[in-house]
Symmetry: C2
């Protein structure tokens, strides 16, 4: 891995070099800058221009730069690249990045490319492709450093020199027995500090933390973060080492999952590209689908209101409090859902804690509802009678109606908001959906029903 330096180059400069055929400058740009920097500055080039740039570097370097492009650009480059060029490039790419890319291509393209790739690499690809998306197996790389347990430290360092160019990290070296089972790990630091004639078995850490290939990638990232690891080994069901997930991929998982959570809360679905760069029609379609769906669900509020038409007809002022009742449910529900979803994501809560959550949140909803109910009561109390169109006795009944409904709605919102993430988790749905507008819509409708039911009972 190159360590990056600050030598930015601007897109116009690059275009000029390409137009003038300034091969020397292009070569030195590709040689000297960090691959991430090259990818960043050449992202604006069209696929043909990008290839004319990349051609100035050896294929190993091309592969390094390639992995730093956004996925959409990678796919474009494959389509414009020609089969021979792409198959050579795939051979040089890190196994995990290569599989990520192949998963985005259509089956026909993959079937065209695979026969052109060297047999070893092809088998590696087939194996990695067989893991389900979002599992440890689909995120791992097979380029790891490993050692047998019965050699000396100096021999190990010699072997590492050979493995180094291909391994994603040589800072953790995994120790495997004759059957390929993971039995230990040593860090390069341990090796540097150990006596050269020490045996690996004696200096290694036994029973290292590992994840199964079928584990969820969020779990992998959590373990890595919890133990501050550079990489975590991935084993199959016989505890044989099959790959590693490195900290940088785990960091990407955390960032991607946070993005997904945020987009879900905003009811957007996923959007791979930057919002202004993505085609207008694509963005519109994605947004319109979610908005229309929620809007249609919200039409239920109209039906609920129409159902209680008589109540509004008798006391017009009731309708003034409908928005307040709706937002009480929405706000208290969103708050509870956020807290519980976050607790689930951080591993503090499991679905089996539902009863503790229920009692805790019912009590919490009650005391929160009492606070809000008191504010609601005050509001009615200080509002001039002619605004409400109600006199004396009736007015106090309205105040009681508003405060009682606000209290019940707050309890209801809190309870629904806190249990939804656990129920979703239980049935394998992402608990993040509980903070989303879907649940809010449900609470809106039920809020109206609670309000008018209380009104009928107290006021009418």
């Amino acid at each position: 891995m190159n360590l990056p330096s600050y030598n930015p180059i601007a897109l116009p400069e690059l275009r000029e070099m390409l137009a003038e055929g300034d091969h020397e400058s292009l070569k030195s740009v590709l040689e000297e800058l960090h691959p991430a920097t090259i990818a960043e500055f050449s992202e604006g080039l069209d696929p043909q221009e990008t290839w004319r740039l990349l051609e100035h570097a050896p294929v190993e370097r091309q592969a390094e730069i390639f992995t730093y492009y956004p996925m959409a650009k990678q796919v474009e480059l494959v389509q414009a690249g020609g089969r021979d060029r792409i198959s050579r490039l795939l051979e040089e790419m890190p196994p995990d990045d290569r599989v990520d890319l192949l998963q985005e291509l259509d089956e026909e393209t993959v079937n065209e490319l695979l026969p052109l790739i060297a047999k070893d690499e092809r088998q590696d690809i087939r194996r990695l492709l067989s893991y389900e998306e979002d599992t440890a197996g689909s995120e791992m790389t097979t380029d790891y450093a490993w050692l047998p347990e019965d050699i000396t430290v100096s021999e190990s360092i010699h072997r590492l020199r050979e493995q180094a160019p291909d391994s994603e990290t040589i800072y953790y070296i995994y120790v495997v027995d004759k059957e390929g089972r993971l039995v230990g790990v040593v860090s390069l630091r341990d090796l540097i500090l150990a006596r050269p004639d020490a045996i690996i078995r004696d200096i290694m850490h036994r029973d290292p933390v590992a994840v199964k290939a079928t584990d969820d990638r969020e779990h992998v990232a959590q373990e890595l973060a919890k133990y501050n690891l550079l990489a975590i080994p991935v084993v199959d069901d016989k505890y044989r080492l099959v790959g590693i997930v490195t900290y940088d991929d785990a960091m990407d998982v955390v960032i991607e999952e946070a993005t997904e959570d945020a987009l879900r809360m905003g009811a957007v679905g996923t959007l791979d590209e930057s919002i202004l760069d993505a085609p207008f029609a694509t963005v519109w379609r994605k947004r319109a689908v979610w908005l229309s769906f929620l809007f249609i669900a919200e039409l239920m509020t109209f039906a609920a209101m129409a159902h209680f038409k008589d109540a509004v007809d008798k006391v017009l002022a009731l309708s003034f409090f409908v928005p307040l009742c709706i937002s009480t449910g929405g706000l208290s529900g969103a708050q509870a859902a956020t807290l519980i979803t976050r607790a689930v994501a951080l591993g503090h809560l499991q679905p089996r804690d539902w009863w503790r959550v229920t009692t805790h949140e019912l009590a919490m909803g009650l005391v929160l509802g009492l606070s809000l109910g008191a504010i609601g009561f005050l509001q009615v109390a200080v509002t001039p009678s002619d605004w409400l169109g109600l006199e004396g006795h009736q007015r106090w009944l309205l105040a009681i109606t508003v405060s009682t409904s606000v209290m019940f709605i707050c309890m209801w919102g809190t309870l629904v908001g806190s249990l939804m993430p656990l129920i979703f988790q239980r049935f394998g749905i992402d608990p993040g959906y509980a903070s989303s507008p879907f649940v809010a819509t449900f609470v809106d409708v039920t809020g109206i029903v609670i309000f008018f039911t209380v009104a009928r009972w107290i006021l009418l």
Copy 2:
């Protein structure tokens, strides 16, 4: 750093060992398990019990375990620990974790502790404490590995053996000139692969990516993730190396910021502990403050409704559509705010892009609004006349009113939602607040005003 192994121990077992005074078992637990595992399993002990457990390990080990406790538990342990014990512990803690802890203690306690700490460490603490919260300076550690540029590889490895026990990472070694300025970086991998008589200057990577001590910690995490670095050097305004931020701290920053964003969207404020473990009164106070504040803001909807009392009096059916109008603004606003906030967080958008965002989102709001308006029109069209209490001509005017308002409100929500994150960013407020219920409340009130204004104009 120890590499963790799977050897869980349960809290009751620990308690039994403490009660029986089984010193041998306690010692071996503290020696053999990963510090993160020990911290996890002993988190449930009270401060006195925890100290009786930790006493069985040397102070260096105590410091390692200590940093894995949640901050609230660390503070409790300091209060129960006694000044001498704590000052020795602080001397052994990694500089960045130590400063994080001291920032949580009250000034009096800090002033009591500092004089007891060795002079070198005390100066280090004073310097790190002087950086503002959430900057690179406040996140960095001063235990980094470094080399001058004019020595050989074999001499470097010899020096690293001496620095290794104290350095947070020896995988990246920073090269500084005589004035302490950062001039390059080598990786341990480079050193292992280089000829032993090569000079550092010739094999190092020049002008490494670095961050300033005053840079925001989110920027630090972004740079580290972008370049897939294990650590990033931190320099002062004269480009002198003052510390490093390692990947595990950057990962924590990403996780913390995602949590903060989520809690903000749910209007909760920050909550350090798990929701069920935190004291009920604390959770209630935090939640009640936010909910009451938003509830009071939502009282504006009541005022808006009361203001348009005449309109509702004339056409009762108008009130049935108020919840729908409110949610249209809320949903379209949340969607736009989420997309733009995320684009800002990922570095795709800056405040100076406001004009592009405005035109893009006005157009988007229009086409989205047309879709929703059409659905709204249909709804009125298929609703039985007696539900609405309107006949013939009047009914079509209501359909036009609803669809027109929905369109305008959708445009308005989209525009407000998309511009708020940029305006907030411009004035140094976290753009995440734009997805929060504060903006939703604002859009709710304006939605009501738009609806009744359109109604007066078309229907009344």
